[in-house]
């Protein structure tokens, strides 16, 4: 179906995709509750159709205050990200069909629109505007939980996200100074400008030590909000890195660290949604490594993995969310044995789990292996080793822990009802897409930025992966059998957020006290000096020290005299 066949829809191609969402959000703000869910599902679907039919090129150049902006840069890289963003907006909003919370619904639309706007941004200023848009819209998905804890978490999240935007803006301004161009294309790390931009992307991509906003915020969002959150912000950063910093070597090492360290945290964490947040971080590592390698294969792998990842991570968040929705908790310690009454959710969760673990015939397998192959093609053996380790380790938390501790393991005695129908439908569609990609990878490969010549289903590949996974499970089973598994335990894990939640306030308090002391001493010294100088002047000019009163008028006249003196000296001497 070409756009010409539907004149009404062909007008769409004249409108930046993001601008579909903003009036939609306005509409959602005024529509009655009953009509909002269809709008929320229909609008992204319409956008998906538009993204699919858009021609390639720079479609919407715009000159503003002497800056050359580009609202719609459509090419294969931006199209695949925009496509998955619209798809996940459809699925996420379908999952949230029951929702009657206007704030969340509007935020979800604005957030998706901003993320898509950012993906299509052809210049750094447009990118920055949408970049901040995602930050501001998404925080409402956290605040919508409407608890004090969520409020504070949201504030922390917002600060970090806005900081990222500010860095991006600063970087963009410097970049403009340096190159005279605001075009958002491949950059070379080296100048302060590019480092600032890199850091801005890094924050959103949850680089190690910049990552903790993710684990802090996602478990604090609402049931449906987390699903939406999990899709956009980090993958937007991945897109931005792929666009701006493909082939930057440092990313390989950053990515390698990213794949490894979260798995340990994920293993001990009790809150299942936080487990998934750590797992998300680990998966981002694969994409970052792919960007760092920068070969066509690696970038294809990154894009494909982002696509597949958004789907199965959303599926996992949905299933955990469904459990939370029915039981009121997502803590491993309080769950177990739910397969008895939520079998469908359990099966869908398992599909998500096997997809993320990379079991053949599921989506993770056909995409993750592209990054691994790219790494081995580049002979980056330590990195490759880290990726193999991480592939196995993913299994332990996302592949086994999530389904096992929630749906199997010991019987918690809970007998919750099955998830609502719309949730099952959303999860079912997502799971179907995971399987479809696994079965027919060619469908996804056709969308990738570069031509693909990669065949995941070779014998050795399948066997190797199965060995990795099955013996991983064996190790897990043995650990369970002999009580070596760390097991479930309630608690909080310290992570880098400790630095700003506990250490920084303490240090700042001490620093403030120090500064106060120094300032006080300095002010006293300056005051004494000034008093001495003034005393001298007063002794001459003030009849009886009348001006000694620190009466504003008096001190102002002093200042007037001082500045006049300075001015005269400067003018005469210059």
């Amino acid at each position: 179906m070409s756009p010409d066949t539907l004149p009404a829809l062909s007008a769409l191609s004249a409108l930046p995709t993001a601008f579909l969402f903003l009036p939609g959000a306005l509409l959602a703000a005024v529509l009655p509750a009953r009509l909002r869910p269809p709008l929320l599902v229909g609008l992204p679907a319409l956008a998906a159709w538009q993204v699919w039919t858009l021609p390639e090129g720079r479609l919407m150049p715009l000159a503003l205050m002497g800056l050359e902006l580009e609202l719609m840069r459509v090419d294969r890289l931006s199209r695949i990200f925009a496509l998955i963003f619209t798809l996940i907006a459809v699925l996420g909003n379908l999952y949230a069909w029951h929702l009657r919370d206007r704030v969340q619904q509007v935020a979800a639309l604005v957030y998706a629109g901003a993320a898509i706007g950012a993906v299509f941004a052809g210049d750094l200023i447009t990118l920055f505007l949408w970049w901040e848009g995602t930050a501001i819209a998404s925080v409402f998905l956290i605040w919508a939980r409407r608890t004090e804890g969520a409020f504070h978490t949201g504030m922390r999240y917002l600060v970090v996200q806005v900081l990222s935007g500010v860095l991006l803006l600063a970087g963009a301004a410097l970049y403009w100074r340096e190159t005279g161009s605001l075009d958002f294309t491949l950059m070379r790390l080296g100048s302060p400008a590019t480092w600032l931009i890199f850091l801005a992307f890094g924050i959103k991509a949850a680089f190690p030590l910049l990552h903790n906003w993710l684990q802090d915020a996602y478990p604090a969002a609402t049931v449906t909000g987390t699903v939406i959150l999990s899709a956009f912000t980090t993958k937007l950063a991945i897109y931005a890195l792929a666009r701006g910093f493909a082939g930057t070597e440092i990313l390989i090492w950053i990515g390698a660290v990213m794949t490894v360290f979260p798995v340990f945290f994920a293993e001990v964490e009790n809150d299942m949604r936080r487990v998934l947040a750590y797992s998300l971080n680990n998966q981002l590592g694969f994409m970052v490594v792919g960007i760092g390698i920068g070969s066509e294969m690696a970038l294809n792998g990154t894009a494909a993995h982002a696509f597949a990842h958004i789907l199965y991570k959303a599926l996992l968040f949905m299933s955990v969310g469904a459990v939370l929705y029915r039981t009121g908790t997502a803590r491993a310690t309080e769950l177990g044995g739910l397969y008895r009454t939520m079998p469908l959710t359990a099966i869908l969760a398992v599909i998500g789990a096997v997809s993320i673990s990379g079991v053949p015939l599921f989506s993770g397998f056909v995409t993750k292996s592209m990054v691994l192959s790219a790494a081995s093609d580049a002979h980056l053996w330590p990195v490759w080793g880290a990726l193999v380790f991480a592939s196995a380790a993913v299994l332990s938390h996302s592949g086994i822990k999530i389904p096992y501790f929630i749906f199997f393991a010991h019987d918690s005695g809970r007998r919750p009802a099955e998830a609502p129908r719309h949730m099952l439908l959303a999860m079912g569609l997502t799971a179907a897409m995971c399987i479809a990609i696994g079965l027919a990878p060619g469908l996804l490969y056709a969308l990738l930025p570069y031509p693909v010549e990669y065949h995941p289903y070779s014998g050795y590949h399948v066997v190797g992966q199965m060995q990795l996974l099955l013996f991983g499970v064996v190790a897990f089973a043995l650990a369970m059998r002999f009580g070596l598994h760390p097991g479930e335990k309630r608690g909080t894990l310290l992570d880098s957020d400790w630095l700003y939640r506990r250490a920084a306030p303490a240090v700042l308090g001490a620093a403030a006290a120090l500064v106060r002391a120094i300032w006080g001493a300095g002010a006293a010294a300056v005051g004494a000096l000034r008093a001495a100088a003034m005393g001298f002047i007063r002794a001459r000019s003030g009849p009886e020290g009348r001006l000694a009163h620190v009466w504003p008028t008096g001190s102002m006249v002093e200042w007037l005299a001082i500045i006049l003196g300075v001015m005269l000296v400067v003018v005469y001497l210059a």
Binding site: A170, R177, L564
Partner: protein, 532 residues
């Protein structure tokens, strides 16, 4: 866009000055008198209001006069945007002997700001002063408001240094009384007004002493003529002294940092409508005068190369940006916080002046405008709070965001603009200033601008936190502000967004003005010659 503006400005150079009135031409239409009418109409309306003495007529006359001034100022601005200047000879006496009104992009822009703010504030003031000033004083209030307005417009319009001083005093004296009218709410307004009177008069005296020095060595008061004659006597110490006196005197009127002490009190204790009007216009006009003297009369070359003024103004500007922001953070009174924030924002304008580049100066002039509408919004919001909550202390307005959602939302917009968030007017000017700093390669300066914006985040956040995150007080009048206040507030708030999103007009006009100022004396030599 900017390319086009620059082109227009270049065209303006060549065009020189359009003479509207010479002794030979007699038949003049109303439009030719706009340079004087823009000042004269509010000036005449003031005694008219007093003479009629009817409370009911006072407001319509005032509003009509202000509206006329706005229309006239806009029409003048559109006439001079090409880069031309309009010269009007009072009494038909040609300059330099007679008093000349000369309108170019810079002062037309300032007149538009002043009259537009007056038009926007008057509907608001009607409700606001009804609550804050006893009825018997309303006629007086309107007369004084008109005088202040006429004075400020006159300062902008005139091309004669002494005439400028006279108008400065007209507006200042009216302002002192307007501030004192806050005494019906808070007796401290009286001492404040008295302080303001003393300091303002001191500043004006310095200014007039400086003019005296200039007159002594040049024998003229016409600014164009002054510029020409000053350029001929580079080493004249009398002129140096005059320069110092004028800059310091105007520095006080501008509220340049250590000379700012009159401002916080005056803005805090004045009636809300007066605070809003003053904050948006008085210091802006003073900045204009400073610009006029630095660039037109003395010329950028004299000011910044011979006198090295950059190194006097720059530290003071930075001091203002930081010290005043810090003070603002620790205020417990919303109005006072805004007053200190104004001092900090004036620091930005001085910074733009001191950096001496086309971009930075454009930034300073745009900030003049953007800060005027931003501060007007915020002071009007505070006025609405005062009306309902009875005070402007933070403790008075706790949780008021829930009680007065519309007013508070406008306040948030104003706050964002104060910080300089993209999409608001405040961003445009700060962006230009940062741009100007980077052009000079001073990127430490760009960082300082950003850093001081972060301080603005702190004090604005404090306000937002108070208004939204605290529980509302029980004894607060739990109603939204009346529509007569809400509509002007929102017009202002939306205009901060409008001028944040479509900055072509402001940046273009300010760019022309900056161009005219930067070319300084050289351009005036042409026009001065034409005037003889």
């Amino acid at each position: 866009m900017s390319g086009q503006v620059a082109g227009d400005a270049l065209a303006g150079h060549a065009a020189g000055v359009v003479e509207t009135a010479t002794a030979a031409e007699r038949a003049l239409g109303l439009a030719d008198h706009l340079p004087v009418l823009v000042v004269l109409v509010p000036f005449l309306a003031a005694p008219l209001v007093v003479l009629l003495g009817a409370r009911r007529l006072a407001w319509p006359i005032t509003f009509a006069a202000a509206f006329f001034s706005l229309a006239a100022a806009l029409s003048l601005l559109s006439g001079v945007l090409g880069g031309d200047a309009i010269s009007y000879h009072i009494g038909g006496w040609a300059p330099p002997l007679g008093i000349e009104y000369r309108i170019d992009a810079a002062n037309a822009f300032v007149m538009v700001i002043v009259s537009a703010i007056a038009v926007a504030i008057l509907p608001y003031a009607r409700t606001s002063i009804a609550a804050e000033i006893p009825a018997r004083q309303h006629v007086l209030f309107h007369a004084l408001f008109l005088l202040a307005l006429a004075g400020l417009l006159g300062v902008a319009a005139t091309g004669d240094a002494f005439n400028l001083f006279v108008f400065l005093e007209i507006s200042s004296l009216a302002t002192y009384v307007l501030v004192a009218m806050g005494a019906y709410r808070d007796k401290r307004a009286l001492t404040t007004a008295f302080n303001y009177l003393l300091m303002g008069t001191t500043g004006a005296t310095f200014f007039v002493i400086g003019i005296g020095f200039l007159y002594m060595s040049t024998g003229t008061l016409n600014m164009a003529d002054l510029a020409q004659l000053i350029a001929q006597q580079p080493g004249n110490r009398t002129i140096h002294a005059g320069f110092a006196f004028i800059i310091v005197g105007m520095g006080l009127k501008v509220a340049m940092y250590p000379l700012h002490l009159w401002l916080p009190g005056a803005y805090t204790y004045a009636p809300s409508a007066v605070s809003a009007f003053l904050a948006a216009t008085a210091t802006k006009v003073a900045v204009y005068v400073l610009l006029r003297f630095l660039f037109t009369v003395f010329g950028p070359q004299y000011t910044f190369e011979a006198a090295e003024l950059t190194w006097v103004i720059l530290p003071l500007a930075l001091l203002a940006m930081f010290a005043a922001s810090f003070i603002a953070i620790f205020q417990v009174n919303f109005k006072k916080m805004l007053a200190y924030s104004s001092i900090a924002q004036i620091g930005y304008m001085l910074l733009g002046i001191a950096m001496l580049s086309q971009t930075a100066l454009t930034g300073a002039i745009v900030h003049l405008f953007n800060h005027a509408i931003t501060k007007a919004t915020l002071f009007m919001v505070i006025g609405a709070y005062v009306l309902r909550a009875g005070g402007a202390f933070y403790r008075d307005i706790e949780g008021i965001g829930r009680v007065m959602p519309w007013t508070s939302a406008a306040g948030v917009i104003g706050g964002l603009s104060l910080i300089g968030v993209p999409g608001t007017a405040g961003f445009v000017s700060k962006w230009l200033l940062v741009q100007g700093a980077l052009e000079k390669g001073w990127w430490w300066m760009a960082l300082l601008v950003v850093a001081s914006s972060l301080l603005a985040v702190v004090y604005v956040w404090k306000g937002i936190e108070t208004a939204y995150l605290r529980a509302p007080r029980e004894d607060v009048d739990r109603r939204e502000a009346p529509l007569t206040m809400l509509v002007p507030i929102w017009i202002m708030a939306l205009s901060t967004i409008w001028f944040g999103l479509s900055a072509e007009w402001t940046v273009g006009a300010a760019g022309t003005a900056a161009e005219a100022l930067m070319s300084g004396a050289s351009q005036l030599l042409i026009s001065g010659g034409a005037g003889h």
